[in-house]
């Protein structure tokens, strides 16, 4: 099963300002993606934009794959204008996935903004295997909180907050999590955090985890050219030296990342 394939767009809908949900149908059988894995998608039709763009698996429905994305620049802008029937060149699934092999009692999920994309995939998988994760989900404003209905429908306990305070509690997601941990001292026993979001959020989350001695994993982002470990473009500095986000990651133990 080659990880290079074409897919046709089945649906591409706007969820909120600058945020879209794309469903694509692989035109051949592909490997089953795990939460944390990502795909490299072509966007344009000429030589500009040139490189493929990385997006996390957000959901699987049958053989269809969904990605949830924010329009961040040229490539995602062009992507947002794809219509059903358009064909994409894709590489994937790529990278490692969230390590949930060992069962843990207390699973804490943390997402910031469009970082909900892979965290949702993980949540859905955990709930399917009868785990009871708790999700902390933050965004700048309420309109940046995505797929709230989907979250409700999988029935995950969700703590919501926004910087503006217009939806959920006001404040950064790490502050809400800190209160939660303080109010539930037992969570630190056999607990694991899985997170995805903007770098500042992940950085302060790492600090929080270190403070309470909690284990945790974060899915990182870095500019990518190849997505398969060849260009050495996507590195992150870790306690074990430079590592490739596309190959050794995108998911790294939080305590190994040198922010």
């Amino acid at each position: 099963m080659s990880r290079l394939f074409e897919a046709s767009v089945k649906d591409n809908r706007r969820l909120a300002e600058n945020h879209y949900l794309l469903t694509f149908h692989p035109l051949k059988k592909i490997r089953r993606p795990e939460p944390g894995n990502f795909f490299m998608l072509s966007t344009g039709n000429g030589l500009d934009p040139l490189l493929k763009r990385p997006f996390s698996i957000h959901r699987r429905t049958g053989s269809d794959i969904r990605i949830l994305y924010r329009v961040a620049g040229r490539g995602t802008d062009i992507l947002s204008r794809k219509r059903p029937g358009d064909v994409l060149q894709i590489i994937g699934p790529l990278g490692n996935s969230f390590p949930v092999g060992r069962s843990r009692k207390n699973i804490i999920l943390v997402a910031g903004g469009v970082g909900i994309a892979p965290v949702f995939a993980l949540a859905e998988g955990l709930i399917a295997s009868l785990k009871k994760p708790v999700l902390f989900y933050g965004a700048k404003t309420g309109s940046g909180l995505l797929c709230i209905e989907e979250l409700n429908s999988i029935g995950i306990e969700t703590h919501i907050c926004t910087d503006s305070g217009d939806t959920g509690r006001k404040g950064p997601v790490t502050a809400i999590l800190r209160e939660f941990i303080q109010g539930n001292p037992s969570v630190s026993e056999d607990c694991c955090i899985y997170a995805c979001g903007p770098e500042p959020m992940l950085r302060s989350l790492s600090a929080l985890a270190a403070e309470y001695g909690l284990r945790g994993y974060a899915a990182l982002e870095q500019n990518m050219a190849c997505g398969i470990g060849a260009c050495l473009g996507c590195i992150v500095n870790t306690t074990g030296g430079y590592k490739r986000v596309c190959r050794e990651g995108p998911v790294f133990p939080m305590n190994e990342i040198l922010w």
Partner: protein
């Protein structure tokens, strides 16, 4: 139809090479294509000691191209020979080792070390990487210095020796001539063009290293011109590269004077690119009744139509 080409003492089964730094150590692509079918695989530039390279961000896209400032990160020659070369030996493809040093003696020492390893078919000296600091770049921009460093490596190894030229010069043919005079078996060109991009929101360079090397289709017309200039000037074979995305592009380089071509950035966009290009060259040749890639080399017609 014959596909093989000769680069001096080095014989390739076909003219399509994977370019250094864009094909990892070969392994990364073996899942996508049978790398044994390529004319040659050039590995990421190696040095005597491993190098960490530059901090991130290391790459950024630009119009029809990309900048990289990987900074010559590599595992070092010894680790390559021990851990990566055995895998490559399993394939029919020729293995070209790209390498560099910080001084003439380091270049020579690296060449000696590589010459004793089994399974390496040619050495490619990178004298042109624009990512190193300060005075280093003169290896690839001053023909007298180029002559000296290539001569030193030539004395150090009996292996086929390719010199990879920098495009950041006034007269690239002069550089090719210096390499030829110093005993190179072939020249390869072009390496990346030194370039820069600035994020207007943060007002900072988009690369941590400030400048980086521009590659991809954007630079192809410059590369084709330089291959043509070098082909006219030297008698050793030219390996052409710079923005080759398709068989058409590869053939364009051959017409300009390339004996073989290398595929770089295209591998990132399409991991099957090198093989697709080989297939395309074959179809082109058979459609035109071209019996050997050599018939294309330098065959651009300059007489008035």
């Amino acid at each position: 139809m014959k596909l093989s080409v000769n680069l001096g003492k080095l014989k390739l089964g076909n003219p399509v090479i994977a370019a250094s730094g864009t094909f990892g150590y070969g392994e990364e692509y073996s899942e996508f294509i049978d790398i044994g079918r390529l004319g040659a695989v050039t590995v990421k530039g190696l040095s005597l000691r491993p190098k960490d390279g530059n901090p991130p961000p290391r790459i950024v896209e630009t119009p029809a191209g990309m900048l990289n400032a990987v900074g010559l990160q590599n595992i070092g020659i010894d680790s390559f020979i021990k851990n990566k070369l055995p895998f490559l030996r399993r394939f029919r493809t020729r293995v070209i080792v790209n390498f560099f040093g910080d001084s003439i003696s380091e270049y020579a020492e690296a060449a000696v070390r590589l010459s004793s390893a089994k399974g390496i078919h040619a050495l490619e000296m990178n004298i042109s990487c624009p990512n190193k600091q300060a005075g280093w770049s003169i290896f690839g921009t001053d023909p007298r210095v180029t002559f000296r460093v290539v001569s030193a490596v030539r004395r150090a190894t009996g292996m086929p020796l390719i010199v990879k030229l920098s495009p950041n010069v006034t007269d690239i043919a002069l550089m090719a001539k210096a390499a030829e005079d110093a005993g190179a078996d072939a020249v390869s060109l072009i390496n990346t063009l030194t370039a820069m991009a600035i994020d207007i929101n943060t007002q900072r360079p988009k690369l941590a290293n400030v400048t980086g090397g521009l590659s991809g289709p954007a630079i192809r017309p410059v590369a084709v011109r330089m291959v043509w200039e070098c082909h006219k000037k030297v008698n050793i074979p030219v390996i052409g590269m710079g923005g080759i995305m398709s068989a058409e592009d590869a053939i364009e380089f051959m017409l300009a004077g390339a004996t073989a071509v290398a595929v770089g950035t295209a591998n990132f966009v399409n991991p099957r690119a090198a093989l697709d290009i080989l297939e395309g060259i074959k179809s082109f040749m058979s459609a035109r009744g071209i019996r050997s890639p050599g018939e294309l080399t330098g065959a651009v017609k300059l007489d008035v139509a």
